[in-house]
């Protein structure tokens, strides 16, 4: 096992523990709980009436737009974190570059804002 991976050994063991917790409690439930299926029980919930129409319908497009915006800022984080780690190494040059980078990204946000993309109604 490489040096790098060792640091994650505990994480993996912990993940196994978490998986076991879910698995064991669900398994226990499977052994203990009653099982009396019926057509009514398997119906999806729709406030008491029979479900109408297709389930996988379309949802509002704005969710998608926000997801796109999120991608923009998440990718931005990819560049910001290395800079933050080496702030003093990169010095003034890094600060200026990052300022330009952030300002241009902020312009993108400003654009979305002014065009009403961020307006929910």
């Amino acid at each position: 096992m490489s040096e790098l991976l060792r640091a994650y050994l505990t994480v993996v063991v912990f993940l196994a523990a978490a998986g076991m917790l879910v698995g064991v409690s669900l398994g226990m439930g499977r052994l203990l709980r009653p099982k009396r299926p019926s057509a009514q029980k398997a119906m999806t919930y729709e406030s008491g009436v029979d479900p109408v129409g297709s389930i996988f319908g379309q949802s509002q497009v704005r969710y998608y737009i926000f997801a796109l915006l999120f991608v923009m800022f998440d990718v931005e984080a990819v560049f910001i974190f290395p800079w933050a780690l080496g702030l003093e190494v990169y010095g003034v040059f890094g600060l200026v570059e990052m300022t330009i980078f952030i300002v241009i990204l902020a312009l993108g946000l400003l654009y979305a804002w002014r065009k009403g993309v961020l307006r929910w109604v």
């Binding site: 080496g86 003093e88 190494v89 003034v92 002014r114």
Partner: protein, 504 residues
């Protein structure tokens, strides 16, 4: 805490930035941001202001290009990944002028309908910026970034007419095929990087001349990269997007795509082939031979049957790309070295830019009255718009390569390259090209026949009103086409400049 213990440990030295060399791009970026901000603040009310700002910005970016040209020194930055030399400057100039002409064509076109204007100029400038970067990129990564920067705005511009079905088709085809081609190209680049371990083209060039260069994987990488750019320059069989996109996109954007975007593709190809892949002409030379022969022939044959002027020009520009590919196909056999093929290509590109932009400008002008793109609607144009008729004749005959006009010189230098190579394959290719020129003359002349000899289809002979911007663009292109035809030394000089500085 000691910051140096972070993962960036080691000595960091800020790269030396030669601001003079970057000045054209910096000016463009500043204008780009300004255009966006002004448009946002005014919320679409400052149409004239935004357009004017963008136009001035393009001209302002021309100033550092000129000062750099006067200075004449080759500037290489970031370990040779970004080079400003005469080659780069010639093409930067071309891109800026093509962008400016597109801007002239667009202003009235946009004002006529209810389009978003601020974004239009913003995207156009971004695309031009991508081309400028492309002209200086001598590194796989920066070439890729430049390609994306020039393509992505172009995808959006192609679909600018949002509610127009043809516009949607145009942008979707362009986008999907473009992304696919980019993927193929990226795969090729990764193969080449994987084998050479370099991204800088000069390093790749020297590695590909050493041992291990003959690996099949290298050939595969080269083929994939060339295929990616063959899409960009709409070479057959990667041309299928071009006619639909050209027809559906707003006409100024069609002009832009067919000139600037195509030139961007050629610039990248020249840099890749003549610096990076120079040692492997056994791979790319046959490939370009086939591409060139197919592109000319298919483009011209399909153009024959077109009834829509934009589609005809689209196929004609496909065919023109075929002529421009000719020097590639014989570059390895030239006595003066493969680099001698670059001069003719650059020359042809510059001439092509002038005449093709002019032709599209004229289509725009005529469409303002006829509201039609059919060739039949040009019937009797001479009766009510004699000036436009003369101009259009200049452009189509220049495209066909009739001597006193610009196009003939481009054809001449290209054929001369074929003869210089003097191999059987080159001669065969020359014959194919000659036959194609004759075919092309037929459909170019049929436009002229329509204008001069046919009656006006609907009898409406009110004169065409050409707005100032369009007039400026038309006269610019017409003057350039005629002057180049009479004094070809002008572009020949540029073509020569572009050769010598690039070769290692």
């Amino acid at each position: 805490m000691d910051v140096l213990s972070g993962p960036v440990a080691g000595v960091f030295r800020a790269p030396d930035v030669d601001y003079h060399a970057f000045a054209p791009e910096l000016v463009l970026v500043a204008v780009l941001v300004a255009v966006l901000v002004v448009d946002l603040v005014l919320e679409g009310r400052g149409r004239r202001l935004v357009g004017g700002l963008a136009g001035i910005g393009l001209l302002a970016a021309m100033v550092p290009v000129l000062t750099l040209a006067v200075d004449g020194a080759n500037r290489s930055m970031v370990g040779g990944a970004y080079v400003v030399d005469d080659f780069a400057l010639v093409f930067k100039g071309l891109f800026l002028i093509a962008g400016y002409v597109t801007m002239l064509l667009s202003s009235d076109y946009l004002a006529d309908d209810d389009y978003y204007e601020g974004e239009y100029y913003f995207l156009l400038l971004s695309s031009v910026l991508g081309m400028m970067v492309m002209a200086s990129s001598r590194d796989l990564i920066s070439i890729f970034v430049a390609l994306e920067l020039l393509s992505i705005p172009a995808y959006m511009l192609a679909g600018w007419r949002k509610r127009d079905l043809k516009g949607n088709e145009a942008t979707l085809k362009y986008y999907l095929l473009g992304v696919f081609a980019t993927g193929v190209m990226l795969y090729g680049m990764s193969l080449i990087f994987g084998i050479t371990g370099e991204t800088v083209l000069t390093e790749i060039g020297s590695k590909l001349q050493g041992p291990g260069a003959s690996l099949p994987l290298v050939s595969l990488g080269i083929v994939f990269v060339i295929v990616g750019f063959a899409f960009k320059i709409s070479a057959v069989p990667f041309h299928s997007w071009a006619p639909d996109t050209y027809e559906g996109a707003p006409t100024p954007i069609t002009a832009f795509l067919s000139v600037a975007s195509k030139a961007g593709g050629f610039v990248a190809l020249m840099q890749l082939v003549f610096i990076g892949f120079l040692g492997r002409d056994d791979v790319w030379q046959p490939m370009f031979w086939v591409l060139a022969a197919l592109t000319m022939t298919v483009g011209n044959l399909i153009a024959l049957r077109q009834t829509n002027i934009v589609r005809m020009l689209a196929y004609s520009s496909v065919a023109q790309a075929g002529y421009m590919l000719l020097p590639f196909a014989v570059a390895g056999d030239l006595a003066k070295g493969p680099g001698a093929a670059m001069g003719p290509m650059t020359t042809y590109l510059l001439i092509y830019a002038a005449m093709n932009l002019g032709a599209f400008a004229l289509v725009l002008a005529v469409a303002r009255k006829t509201r039609s793109g059919e060739i039949a609607s040009y019937g009797g144009l001479f009766e009510y718009a004699p000036g436009l008729t003369v101009l259009m004749s200049i452009f189509v005959f220049a495209l066909a390569g009739i001597p006193p006009l610009g196009g003939w010189y481009g054809k001449l230098v290209v054929f001369k390259t074929l003869l210089d190579a003097n191999t059987p394959w080159a001669i065969v290719l020359g014959v194919i090209a000659a036959v194609n020129s004759v075919i092309a003359l037929y459909y170019y002349a049929s436009v002229a026949r329509e204008m001069w000899m046919r009656p006006v289809p609907d009898g409406d002979t009110t004169p065409v009103r050409v707005p100032a911007g369009l007039t400026a663009a038309l006269s610019l292109c017409a003057v350039a086409t005629v002057v180049i035809g009479v004094y070809p030394q002008v572009v020949a000089r540029f073509g020569d400049l572009a050769v010598f500085s690039l070769l290692p």
